[in-house]
């Protein structure tokens, strides 16, 4: 019998019209590392909640079927008992930290269980070491970075020594490097301590290499499960709207061109090994393939629209958030500002519509200094869409929500009507016109927030972390939309740490670190600048990782996406017998 046994599980939330879980059968063995993925709203989170009895004890509603965890029927044991066997870690680290200092927070669960002090100190020190945060055990919890907070959340659960860890999208708010660190911690726990791990993730690129088994959820059911190789090469997975790890996708496409590898690669490292065994080292005489110079030069723009000149800014009591930043953005350009959390990206874009004012330096938009313009005035031209839609939705229905800004700007009612219609159509929201924004799903709420800004058709659109918490299909949709804006000649700026998204969209990249711009240029130039990327703590895209290792064979290092990689590799492998 497995450590988790689920038999014909059905569940519906109170007052819900349809079931959230529609018959789940699943056995998970001790020591397995499972990657569970699926489109947003498919019931992944609901399923997690049954594993430690939050459903049915905390949430009412109707549950049928059976769930046993470590041999305990979850119906018959309260959550605090089950918590000793299965630890749940949630998406937002801020909402799972209760104490004011790190050490005390790790102790919280143990204190609740009445563990004696000596034992407690032992468990805490182990948990902090395993997650790699023992050097900051006295730090105040609100002073930690997002990645550290999430590792603290894991440590706090670990200290209670559960045999099963369930993590519900734990890396949503983290940059790729932070996410990788979390996955490595999980890998250690799995291999060294034989913990059973159930990881729910959209980030299949980084997580797949650790998984023994992949489970695909779709519409409240398990639609497919098996080894990562099987699942991600199965056409059904793609149809379920789940992302495919880039290296596996590359492998697939190579196969369709008649080039086969012995094993399906699950990580860039594996792919590199397989490629290396096929390639002969080129002699020194043969030069690397010449890069495409046009791509290096970037597209040519002539009309500067935003000019940031030597801007510095600091928040009270903190070091410089922006330190002598200068940047010119042209009309119609598509720019991505990248860098670690706290590098100054959001601070910079908040200057563009006057939410923050430069303490030194100046900003001009189309030649005129913006120092004396009000936020409302500037916002007409620079539309800022923030990361979390819940920080701005407040209206009774979507229509009202979209017209809010239009009314603030004093548009006439006929114009407002037209604009609202246009904005609803633009992002495919027409059918939600009269729905309350609060009942919509996360992805839909994000679209409402976006269209509520696009409605007044600002010349410049700025999106702060548009891909956070979005699943594969939603990201694809966003990407198409951004391309559409681009063809309309709109100036678009995105702030993001989603390097794969950027590799697919190919904007101009502005890299920031410690309040400074450390590199700026076309994506191919920046992504191959190993030094600047490391300084900004931005991980290269998966495909770039592969090509970085292969330059000694005479392959170009500046390949960033699957399409290009397939072309370059198949040409190369055909040439060299």
């Amino acid at each position: 019998m497995g450590i988790i046994e689920v038999r014909d599980l059905h569940y519906s939330y109170p007052n819900a019209t349809s079931e959230a879980l529609k018959g789940i059968d699943l056995t998970i063995d001790k020591g397995e590392f499972i990657l569970l993925t699926g489109p947003s709203g498919c019931g992944k989170t609901t399923f997690c909640r049954t594993l430690n009895g939050l459903i049915p004890h905390f949430y009412n509603g109707e549950m049928e079927g059976e769930v046993t965890v470590s041999g305990f029927d979850i119906r018959e044991h309260p959550t605090y008992k089950l918590a000793q066997h299965v630890g749940l870690i949630f998406q937002n680290p801020d909402n799972q930290i209760f104490a004011l200092t790190v050490e005390k927070d790790v102790a919280f669960g143990l204190e609740n269980q009445g563990v004696p002090k000596e034992k407690m100190l032992e468990e805490i020190s182990w948990a902090l070491k395993t997650t790699g945060i023992d050097h900051i055990k006295d730090r105040a919890t609100h002073e930690m970075s997002g990645g550290q907070k999430q590792r603290l959340a894991i440590a706090s659960i670990l200290a209670m020594k559960p045999k099963i860890l369930v993590l519900d999208e734990p890396t949503s708010f983290l940059d790729p490097l932070g996410a990788e660190r979390i996955f490595r911690v999980l890998d250690t726990l799995n291999r060294e301590y034989e913990m059973t791990i159930l990881l729910i993730e959209h980030r299949v690129d980084l997580a797949t290499q650790y998984a023994d088994r992949v489970i695909i959820f779709s519409d409240g059911r398990i639609s497919n499960q098996g080894s990562p190789e099987e699942i991600f090469t199965d056409e059904a997975t793609r149809l379920a709207g789940v992302g495919i790890p880039r290296v596996i996708e590359l492998n697939d496409r190579m196969r369709s061109r008649g080039i086969r590898f012995d094993k399906t690669p699950l990580s860039p490292k594996m792919l590199v090994e397989q490629l290396q065994s096929r390639m002969k080292r080129v002699d020194r005489g043969r030069k690397a393939v010449d890069p495409d110079l046009d791509l290096y030069a970037g597209e040519q723009y002539v009309n500067p629209i935003i000019d940031v000149e030597g801007v510095s800014f600091s928040y009270p009591g903190v070091d410089k958030a922006l330190d002598d930043v200068s940047l010119t953005i042209h009309k119609g350009e598509f720019v991505a500002i990248m860098g670690e959390n706290g590098a100054g990206k959001t601070t910079l874009v908040k200057h563009l519509n006057g939410l923050l004012r430069p303490q030194e330096g100046r900003i001009t938009i189309e030649g005129s200094d913006i120092a004396d313009m009000s936020v409302a005035n500037l916002s007409r031209r620079v539309g800022l869409v923030f990361q979390n839609p819940d920080d701005q939705l407040f209206s009774e229905n979507v229509e009202e929500e979209i017209s809010f800004a239009l009314r603030n700007f004093g548009f006439e009612s006929e114009v407002i009507e037209k604009r609202v219609d246009w904005a609803l159509n633009l992002l495919d929201l027409e059918r939600y016109r009269k729905s309350s924004p609060f009942i919509l799903s996360g992805g839909e709420r994000k679209r409402v927030a976006l269209s509520s800004v696009l409605a007044w058709d600002p010349e410049i659109v700025v999106l702060d972390e548009p891909t956070i918490g979005q699943d594969y299909a939603q990201k694809e949709r966003l990407r198409h939309f951004l391309m559409q804006l681009r063809t309309q000649g709109k100036t678009t700026i995105i702030v993001t740490h989603d390097v794969e998204f950027v590799a697919d969209c190919k904007p101009r990249i502005v890299l920031m670190a410690n309040g400074k711009i450390i590199a700026d240029g076309p994506i191919k130039k920046i992504m191959t600048d190993v030094e600047a990327m490391a300084q900004a703590s931005v991980a290269p895209p998966e495909i770039a990782k592969v090509f970085r290792e292969l330059s000694e064979y005479g392959l170009p290092v500046d390949v960033l996406d699957v399409d290009e990689a397939v072309d370059v590799l198949s040409q190369f492998l055909e040439e060299s017998p």
Binding site: F58, N95, F98, A99, K104, L110, E111, N112, D390, F394
Partner: protein, 264 residues
Amino acid sequence: MSLLEGLRFTRGDSIIHRLDPRVKFLMTMVIFTSAILFLDLLPLLVIFLVQIPLVFIAKIQQEWTKSLKGSVFLALIIFSTNLISYYFFQGRSLNTENVETALALTIRFLNLITSFSLFFLTTSPDKLSLALEKARIPYEFNFAFITAIRFVPVLADEAQSIMDAQRSRGLELDKGSFLNKIRKYIPILLPLIINSIRRSLDLAEAMESRAFGATRDRTNLFELVMDSRDYAVLVISLVILAALIYMKLYLPPFEPLLSYRVII
């Protein structure tokens, strides 16, 4: 709000910080009661001056001065209302004695502020909660207290994000009539409230997952233990309190510092 800032704990390390919170509270209460006990300028000034070395030992001069500066306005109000009322009740005349009493009342007020800021500036909420626990206050209250403090910076960030988002959608908070201005806070308050409700659900889930309420016999990672220094401070505080009460009851009253003279 600088008055409140003088009450917010900032991390530091000193003998005062390390003092058992219960003893420290007693110490604060002794200063507090002694300020209530006397109405003469001299003892109140002495009480005020006694706190200054303590502030320097705790290295909280900056924050402490901030709280003093913050209370200047209230202090001025106390001083002037006292003088004005004397002036009118005595038939439009004032003497130095009145000035002295008004001054004494003002210093008394400052004593109350500074004694409390000395306590709160040097006592971490964690220690405070331990003290509350020792005082047998139910853990639920204690937990609520710590959680409230924990989420102050989180909520402040969130409020800022909401303001930024709505201002970017053309909301101008400072324009319009008074009623209009109030109405303009709806787009800010609603998301804040809804987010808080969502957050409280998340928190409840996380609490359950951390075995909250599993046993009545909760243990504690840190325990309050009184050491010899704490006992020393405890005894000294009590002796001083006793001496002050004795002085108040059995010694002759203080001579006024300013001589009796009619000003107006």
